[in-house]
Amino acid sequence: MVVETLKDDVKAVIERWKDKEGNLIMILHDIQDRYGYVPREAALEVSRQADMPLARIYEVLTFYNYFKLTPPGKFTISVCLGTACYLKGAPALIEEIRRLLQVDEGHTTKDGLFHLQIVRCLGCCGLAPVITVGHKVYSAVKRTDVMGIIAEHKTVEA
C-alpha cells in the first residue's frame, strides 16, 4: 500500500515523540492506530526519518503480539481466550468460526471481510465467553449464536 500522506503521517508521529527517550513502541502504536496495522512502507519511513535501522524496528514489531504486519479484514473478530472464556466454551466458538468462514486464526477471509484473532483476556470475565466484532462486544456467546453474529456483519456489508 502507498498512501499519499504516509510521509507526513510518519513525520507528525515522530515529531510528537521526538523528545522522549525509548519512543519506538509509542511511535509504532500511533502508526497502527492510524492504519490498522504497521505497513512495511511506514516502517521504512520511520527508519529513514528517525534514523533507526529497519532491523531495530522489526525486532520490536515481531516481538509484541499487539502489532500487526498485514492489513486486518474489514471486521476483526476477536475471540477471548482468557481462562474464564476458555472454561465457558470459547474453544468451540473458535472452531465454529473457522468452520463457517474457512479461516485460520491470524488470517483474513478471502473476501477480505473478516479477520480472526485470538486474544488473551479482554477483561470482561463476568460476561464470558466474549467475542468482539469490530467495536461490538458479544457476551455469553453460544456456539449456535456465531452464525447469526457473522450474518449480521455480512448484511451490513451488502
Binding site: 479482554l122 477483561g123 470482561c124 470475565c125 463476568g126 460476561l127 466474549v130 462486544v137 457476551s139
Partner: protein, 113 residues
C-alpha cells in the same frame, strides 16, 4: 501555579457541600460498556430530560458485579437506594417511569447484595 494544601481543602469542602439529592449512576467501565452501558446512559439522560426531572445522571467505575452489568444505581428521595442489574434500554425507561416518577421499585432487576 502549584496548589497549596489550603486550596485543596477549600476544593474539598466546596465539592462536599450541596451533594445532589437525586442521582442515578451508571457503571461505565469496559465490562459495563461491553454489556451496553452506553445505550442505557443515553436513554436515562433522554428520559430524565423528557420528564423534566431534577435528577443527575452520571458515569462511575465498576462496582464489581460483572455478571449483572450494565449496572445502574438509583437514589431518589422517597424510595430506597438500590442497584439495578442487567439493565437494557427498556429497563432504563422503566427505571425513570416507575422508580423516579412513581417511586415504585422496578421488578426483576434489583441486586441487593
Amino acid at each position: 501555579m502549584a496548589m497549596t494544601r489550603e486550596e485543596l481543602n477549600k476544593l474539598k469542602s466546596a465539592a462536599q457541600s450541596n451533594p445532589p439529592r437525586n442521582w442515578i449512576r451508571v457503571g461505565y467501565s469496559t465490562c459495563g460498556v461491553a454489556a451496553g452501558a452506553k445505550e442505557v446512559l443515553d436513554v436515562l439522560n433522554e428520559e430524565i430530560k423528557a420528564h423534566n426531572m431534577d435528577v443527575i445522571v452520571k458515569k462511575c467505575g465498576c462496582v464489581g458485579l460483572c455478571s449483572a452489568e450494565p449496572l445502574v444505581e438509583v437514589n431518589i428521595e422517597g424510595a430506597p437506594r438500590v442497584f439495578y442489574g442487567k439493565v437494557n434500554k427498556d429497563v432504563a425507561r422503566r427505571i425513570v417511569d416507575e422508580h423516579v416518577c412513581q417511586k415504585k421499585l422496578v421488578e426483576n432487576h434489583i441486586y441487593e447484595i
